[in-house]
Every structure is written in structure tokens, then in C-alpha cells.
């Protein structure tokens, strides 16, 4: 059963020529590659951070060992 008012809500005003610029500017250009790149960047950052933390821990452990072994 069609309800005119409900169906009418599905129709939207068509974009006019003057609105092309605005449409291009407001176009959501984010795609899967962008998301992928972001993910890769975040992953790389996390790895760098983890590596730095590991190095710091290793440095600390080394210092502890050196301290214990010294007379």
C-alpha cells in the first residue's frame, strides 16, 4: 500500500547547476584506501612506539645486570 506522504519523503530536490561547486566541495572523498593508509600509518606508529619501549626496557635490564654483576 502506497502512502503518498511517505513516498514523497523519498524524493529530494534535484541539484541545480549553481550547486555543482558546492557538491564537489562537499563530496565525501574518503575511501577504503584512505582508511587502509590510516591504518597502516597507525600500525607503523605503534610499531615504532613499541620498538622504542622495548629498547628502553632492554636498556634498563642491561643496566640492572651490570649493576648486579659489578663488585
Amino acid at each position: 500500500m502506497i502512502v503518498f506522504e511517505d513516498e514523497l519523503k523519498k524524493f529530494h530536490p534535484s541539484m541545480e547547476i549553481e550547486g555543482v561547486e558546492a557538491a564537489v566541495q562537499s563530496h565525501d572523498m574518503t575511501d577504503m584506501t584512505d582508511i587502509f593508509m590510516t591504518m597502516m600509518r597507525e600500525k607503523a606508529d605503534a610499531e615504532i612506539q613499541a620498538r622504542a619501549q622495548g629498547q628502553a626496557q632492554a636498556q634498563a635490564q642491561m643496566e640492572q645486570i651490570m649493576y648486579n654483576t659489578l663488585p
Binding site: 500500500m1 513516498e7 530536490p13 534535484s14 541545480e16 547547476i17 575511501d31 577504503m32 584506501t33
Partner: protein, 466 residues
């Protein structure tokens, strides 16, 4: 396909051979984008435009730099009557790939024809206006506006769908189906259009069940087939019944045609012909009037010439005597002949001379005047005496009319004789014309004052007055 990190060309491996980046997932994303593009292309090929839009949008969601997909999406939008969306896609495409991009050609085609672009813009504005009419529940106005829109932009799917919806709501199911079938001929698998057609069919069936009559002349289901890239949907219109109704329709058509000819075309043609005829008539009338004037002038000239000729002929006849009319010269000659024959026949002489007028004497020759004067001096006295004798004889015979006539002639010949005038007055008195007699008595008194006749005349007048 290039590495997203270093930009070098990728091999078949899942990592970049140049920088070692993991490109396995990246490759899958691009492959998915291409897959969706292929799907969209296949759908566009069978005129499943709305399906193609979905697939191509999906493709672009995977990879926004898929130029082919974006260009095709613009083309599909343009085919659906959404020129502005198409332009925006082509502009973005051109932005990503400035050189060797077919979107450039599409945009050039649009920009090279400002009229076409303006028409597209006008139709979109009218469509939006129609939509406003729908919001304001002015369905009739919306239908009129949408018809205008679709007469210019014949591929605007949303226009067909909205018009179909309006027809459904106004109960005009036949027109609704026709409109929706047109929408299907542009976009063969549009779910909204198909849903509306299904709803229309349901409504028609319901109405037919209620009324028991056939409501729609159109088929309940569409028959569509593929012809190259075109999807042909038929039959949109049911075949009309041939027979008596057709004949009636033809007759009505003929009558309408004749009426249009009679009331619209014929008056204009008649007015045109009448105007031409009027101009011709006016021209001919002017020529005729000019001819008549010329003819009258010629006739008048001819008549004058004829009169002049007649006058000259008459004068010629008078001179030559061919007319039988006597001239003054003839009378003078007759008078001279009478005088030569009998000098005492003064009456005959004077009778001839009486015909010569004073005016003629003034204008004639001296010799004529001398002869006239000589004859008159000799004959006048004798003639006057003879007239007097005749008058006296008439008085004796109581014939006063003759006496008056004779005395008058005598008086005209000799106006110095008061007796003649007195006797003439007596004759008038005797004949009963006392008024004329009194006039003559007075003339005697005035002309011959102091004479016995004047005294007597005064007595006669007095007696009459007494």
C-alpha cells in the same frame, strides 16, 4: 598498480619489492573496486542504471581514484537525467586525472552548448518546483509542471517516478502505468519504479473486482526484451478495439477537422481572399472612374464640337439660304422690291422692314442702314396714313380689335401724331379695356401737354374716375 608508500610498480607479491610495504590488503581493496566497476558496467550495459549507480558508487568507495568508474558513474547519472550529479563526478575525475581523461570531453560537450545546459538547469528547477507543489498538496500543478519537465528532459527517472506516484494518488492508473513504463524504458530495473507498477496493478485489480468492469486498457505485466544496449518494453498501449467505435472516432475526427477548417482556417483564407479582391476591386474602380472621366471629357468635347459645327452649319445655311430662313438682308431686299414695284404700297414695304431689328441695324453696314432709312422715310408716312384709314374703317364697323391693331402700327410709325394715340385710347375704352385706355390718356397728357387732346384726355380720365 603502484605502491601506496613509495609509488613503485607492484609485482605479483603481497609486499612491495622496493620498500617492503605490505600491499596484500591494498591489492584486495583495488581488486574489489575493479570488481564493482565491472559489475556497474555490466548493469549499465543492460540499462540497469540504478543498479549500476550502486555498484559504481561502491567501486568508488573502495578506490576514489578509479577514473573509469567515476566517469561511468557520471555517464549513468547523465542518462538518468541527473546532469548536475554527472558534471560533479566528471569534475572530480578531471581533478584526479587532468590529462587523457574522457571526462574532459564530456564537460566540453556540455560547456560548448550553453543552451543545452540552460535547458537542463531549467528542467531541474521545474522539477524542484513540482516537488514543492507536492509538499503543498497541489497535485494538479505538480502534474502539469512535471509534464513540462519530462517533455524537455525525457530521461529524468525521478520525474517519471514522481509523476507516476501523483497519477496513482489521483486514481489515474492508466497514465500512471504509461509514465512508469517510460521510466522503465530508461532504467529497466529500478526497484522504486517496479514497486509502483506493482502497486498500480494491485489497485487496478482491486477496482476491477469491486466494479466488475475493466478499469485499465493497458496490460497488467510488461513485456521487455533486449535490443543491443536498449531495453524495449512493450506493449505500453493496448491495441484498441476496431469496429464501430473506430468508425465513430474517425467520423468525429473528420467533423472536428471540418469544424477547425470552417471556423479557423476558412475565415482567415476568406479574409485574405476578400482583402485581395477588395484591393483589386478598388484598383479596377479607380481605373473605371478614370476611364469614365476621360470618356465624359471626350463626350463633352465632342458635344461642344458638334454644337459648334451645328452653329457654323446653321450660319452657313443662313448665309447660303439653304435653311429657307429669311435674313434681314432678304427682308430689306423684299422691301426694296416692293418699293420698286409700287412706291405707294407702304404696307408691304413696312411689313418687310418690321422684321429688321434695331440691334441688327447697329451692327450692320452703313449702306444697309442708308437704304433702310431711305425706304422707311418714304414709306413710313404713307403706311401710317393707310393704317389710320384702316383703323377708322374698323371703328366704323365696330371692330375695335382690328382698329387697335391698326392704330398701334400707325403710332409706332409716327409718334408725333397725338390723334393716333388719342384714338387708340378711345378704341381701348370702347373695347372695354378702360385701364389700358387710361394709361394711353395719361400718355397723351404727358406727351402732348397743352393740346386739345391732352385736355380731352384729362376729361376722359376724370369721367372714368367719377
Amino acid at each position: 598498480m603502484n605502491c601506496y608508500q613509495c609509488g613503485s610498480r607492484l609485482s605479483s607479491e603481497d609486499f612491495c619489492t622496493n620498500c617492503g610495504a605490505d600491499v596484500g590488503l591494498y591489492k584486495k581493496i583495488l581488486a574489489m573496486s575493479n570488481y564493482c566497476y565491472n559489475d556497474g558496467l555490466a548493469r549499465a550495459n543492460v540499462r540497469d542504471l540504478s543498479g549500476a549507480v550502486v555498484s559504481l558508487k561502491q567501486s568508488l568507495k573502495y578506490n576514489k581514484r578509479n577514473i573509469e568508474a567515476r566517469n561511468l558513474l557520471g555517464l549513468v547519472y547523465f542518462e538518468m537525467g541527473e546532469a548536475v550529479l554527472a558534471m560533479s563526478e566528471w569534475i572530480i575525475s578531471k581533478n584526479f586525472e587532468p590529462s587523457k581523461n574522457i571526462a574532459d570531453e564530456y564537460l566540453d560537450i556540455l560547456h560548448s552548448s550553453p543552451t543545452k545546459l540552460d535547458n537542463i538547469d531549467q528542467t531541474l528547477k521545474k522539477y524542484n518546483q513540482a516537488l514543492q507543489f507536492c509538499y503543498q498538496d497541489s497535485k494538479d500543478l505538480a502534474i502539469i509542471q512535471l509534464k513540462k519537465v519530462l517533455s524537455i528532459n525525457r530521461n529524468l527517472i525521478s520525474g517519471y517516478q514522481l509523476l507516476g506516484l501523483l497519477y496513482i494518488c489521483t486514481g489515474d492508473y492508466d497514465n500512471a502505468k504509461r509514465t512508469l513504463f517510460k521510466a522503465l524504458s530508461v532504467d529497466a530495473s529500478n526497484t522504486t519504479t517496479l514497486g509502483y507498477i506493482k502497486e498500480v496493478n494491485r489497485l487496478i485489480r482491486e477496482q476491477e473486482e469491486k466494479t466488475g468492469k475493466k478499469v485499465s486498457t493497458l496490460p497488467m505485466e510488461t513485456i521487455s526484451y533486449q535490443n543491443g544496449n536498449e531495453v524495449i518494453i512493450q506493449p505500453v498501449y493496448a491495441k484498441e478495439k476496431v469496429g464501430f467505435s473506430s468508425i465513430i472516432n474517425i467520423i468525429i475526427g473528420l467533423l472536428v477537422g471540418v469544424a477547425i477548417c470552417w471556423f479557423l482556417i476558412m475565415p482567415a483564407r476568406m479574409a485574405g481572399i476578400t482583402q485581395v479582391n477588395d484591393e483589386k476591386f478598388k484598383e479596377v474602380s479607380e481605373q473605371l472612374a478614370a476611364e469614365q472621366a476621360s470618356r465624359q471629357e471626350i463626350e463633352k468635347t465632342l458635344s461642344d464640337r458638334q454644337n459648334q459645327m451645328d452653329e457654323l452649319q446653321r450660319k452657313y445655311d443662313d448665309i447660303t439660304g439653304a435653311s429657307g430662313r429669311k435674313t434681314e438682308h432678304d427682308y430689306l431686299m423684299d422691301a426694296a422690291i416692293a418699293y420698286v414695284n409700287d412706291p405707294t404700297d407702304s404696307v408691304a414695304i413696312m411689313e418687310n422692314m418690321d422684321h429688321i431689328s434695331e440691334e441688327f441695324l447697329d451692327s450692320t453696314t452703313d449702306s444697309f442702314r442708308e437704304l433702310y432709312a431711305a425706304l422707311k422715310s418714304d414709306a413710313a408716312t404713307l403706311a401710317a396714313d393707310e393704317y389710320i384709314e384702316n383703323a377708322k374703317s374698323a371703328v366704323k364697323a365696330n371692330d375695335y380689335n382690328v382698329a387697335i391693331e391698326e392704330y398701334t402700327k400707325a403710332w409706332l410709325l409716327d409718334k408725333s401724331n397725338s390723334d393716333v394715340l388719342m384714338n387708340l385710347a378711345h378704341c381701348y375704352r370702347q373695347s372695354g379695356d378702360t385701364k389700358k385706355a387710361d394709361e394711353l390718356y395719361k400718355q397723351v397728357i404727358d406727351t402732348f401737354p397743352g393740346t386739345q387732346n391732352a385736355v380731352d384726355a384729362a376729361d376722359y380720365i376724370t369721367e372714368e374716375q367719377d
